[in-house]
Symmetry: C2
Subunit: 340 residues, 2 copies
DNA sequence: CTGAAAGCGCTAACAT
DNA sequence: ATGTTAGCGCTTTCAG
């Protein structure tokens, strides 16, 4: 019962007593076929459980495969899940299927994945660039007409379309909100590595907001972490400073989880918080969590639609599309600074 | 600059002045090749940016494609994101890539996706069955050696391996926890449709816990919703009953979000809550949210490893693997019942 | 060590 | 309306 060879077009043809091409015609609604043979063929297809081999078809037709390759850092991060949903919703109508892999932000894994996707002749390649990855090897493929889109961060070594959030202005607005409520010592808990594009942009926004308010930039108020546990530790460490922050800004959703968890554990309600990226249950916290919301689904949709336009022949210059963020004020940014 | 045909094996061969087969040998480390030609070939490959066509290879070799097809209801749901991560982690070592699509719990979309995956000759098929879907069409493929695994819910019309959470006993334990804290009127907010396997199992666990405590089953304490907004409305409606529940049980993560959001908005701290499925920020709520935690990554890993074992020739009977849930007590289940 | 020929499953381009 | 031939890009088989 093991390797029961799957039926082929030829098998179906033999069964009905017609040529392979006729079966092909029925299946692809290509040329004309008599109603009679058509029915016979369909019956045989059903009887044999024939399933056309898409790879064989693609190889003959010569076009790209009807798949879209997506490389993201982590399948488990809800942000990227929402991005993927936006992409899938946009390309489904075109009959494209998602080929996905996670790079864990490792350039080698990213390269291995993109190589696989290229070998599979994906129609479109969408990549969240890993820190330190070089994308110049993609150049010839892009030149040959493969749409390549960078998402969440710009790529290195290849000029192509990118979709990013308004990281800098978003972070600026979040921090300005804290400043407006009287805070002058504002901690920044960012993700790692320090060179990460989103982190740098958001930090730049943080600094811009401080500068506008003539608040000196104090490096001792910066902390970094890889994950939620790290963010909790970083938070606790910041709050133990001699001259501690009265407010905290979270550089992304995971850092936000860490800050909020640590404040809850230590029962510190007096620390104001604004987090980058909206999260579930933000409204149910006390105080409710004020966030700079990204729109991950929209990011996905824009990436997909940009790529589809390229597929349709758009030869205009590479663009960077910035998807706006939105400050959602819920209360946690309005805790007054504790008077020393 | 448009359709610059991609180089083929033959192009590389011509460039070096050898036969296609020799290039193939170098690339696949097949037969013996002199160090000299080997180097020349590799150089030409790099120079031309040659990328072997995996589809052409597969078609010739005849084996299944090195992809694993995964059909889930919703890419954006963090539960399924974690499942996908578990699967990918497990199959990566085998060189398998994830082909993913979301069914939106629509049987037609599920069928279209599985058909596509079969046409692509995936090595493995993992499906979260949509309600109302019939899986008997997969029978011949399974018989032909394709590992098929159902995940989160059992499939219909096909006997094969399934991985599920301990839904019934998990829900039982969560509700028993509420009972132990004195609650006798416990509302159940479940997802839709009512026929959904997980919902039915969890409801059965709920009923079992009530029965153990000699608490009558009151249908007016059941509510349903499709999404978080619906769950909020359902919660509010339950609490407006003449004889309202003093505790609520959430049938899944989304329902939990709805319940918690609604209780926060209406400032009802007196209602005890236990939710199925753990969520971020659960510990930061006040009171912290008690949950029946599933282990989505483990579910994914088990699904993948079961399928891999089948691929390796395991012909034993179809199994149903139950991944245990775990009651995580954090406080929200211990609110005493409000005395009327 | 290397190459020529055949063929995987399918479809394009001509027939008929 | 249907069939034939050739060939997509690669590997298998069999010869050198």
């Amino acid at each position: 019962m093991a390797a029961n060879r799957r039926p082929t077009l030829a098998d179906v043809a033999r069964e009905v007593g017609v040529s392979a091409k006729t079966v092909s015609r029925v299946l692809n609604e290509d040329g004309p076929v008599s109603e009679q043979t058509r029915a016979q063929v369909l019956a045989a297809v059903a009887r044999l459980g024939f399933q056309p081999n898409l790879m064989a078809r693609n190889i003959r037709v010569g076009g790209p495969d009807t798949t879209i390759g997506l490389v993201i850092p982590d399948l488990g991060n809800p942000f990227f899940g929402a991005v993927a949903r936006g992409i899938e919703d946009t390309v489904r109508g075109r009959g494209l299927t998602l080929l996905m892999g996670s790079s864990a932000d490792d350039p080698d894994r990213e390269r291995a994945l993109t190589a696989k996707f290229l070998a599979r002749r994906v129609s479109i390649l969408i990549v969240v660039p890993a820190v330190g990855a070089d994308h110049s090897p993609l150049k010839p493929h892009r030149a040959a007409g493969l749409p390549v889109v960078f998402l969440d961060r710009p790529g290195v070594g290849l000029s192509t379309d990118s979709i990013v959030s308004s990281n800098r202005s978003g972070a600026h607005d979040g921090v300005a909100h804290l400043v407006a409520h009287g805070h002058r010592r504002i901690g920044f808990v960012g993700d790692l590595p320090v060179k990460l594009y989103t982190r740098r942009e958001r930090l730049a926004g943080y600094r811009a907001a401080l500068q506008e308010a003539d608040i000196p930039y104090d490096r001792s108020l910066l902390a970094d972490a890889h994950d939620q546990q790290g963010a909790e530790a970083a938070t606790s460490q910041l709050l133990r400073l001699a001259d501690p922050p009265t407010a905290l800004f979270a550089g992304n959703n995971i850092m936000g989880f860490g800050i909020v968890a640590e404040l809850a554990r230590s029962k510190r309600k007096d620390v104001a918080v604004v987090a980058f990226d909206d999260v579930s249950l933000a409204e149910a916290l006390e105080p409710a969590l004020t966030v700079v919301a990204q729109d991950p689904e929209e990011i996905g949709r824009r990436a997909a639609s940009t790529a589809l336009a390229r597929l349709d022949g758009d030869r205009s210059r590479a663009r960077t599309i910035t998807v706006p963020t939105r400050l959602i004020v819920r209360g946690s940014g309005e805790q007054p600074p504790r008077k020393p």
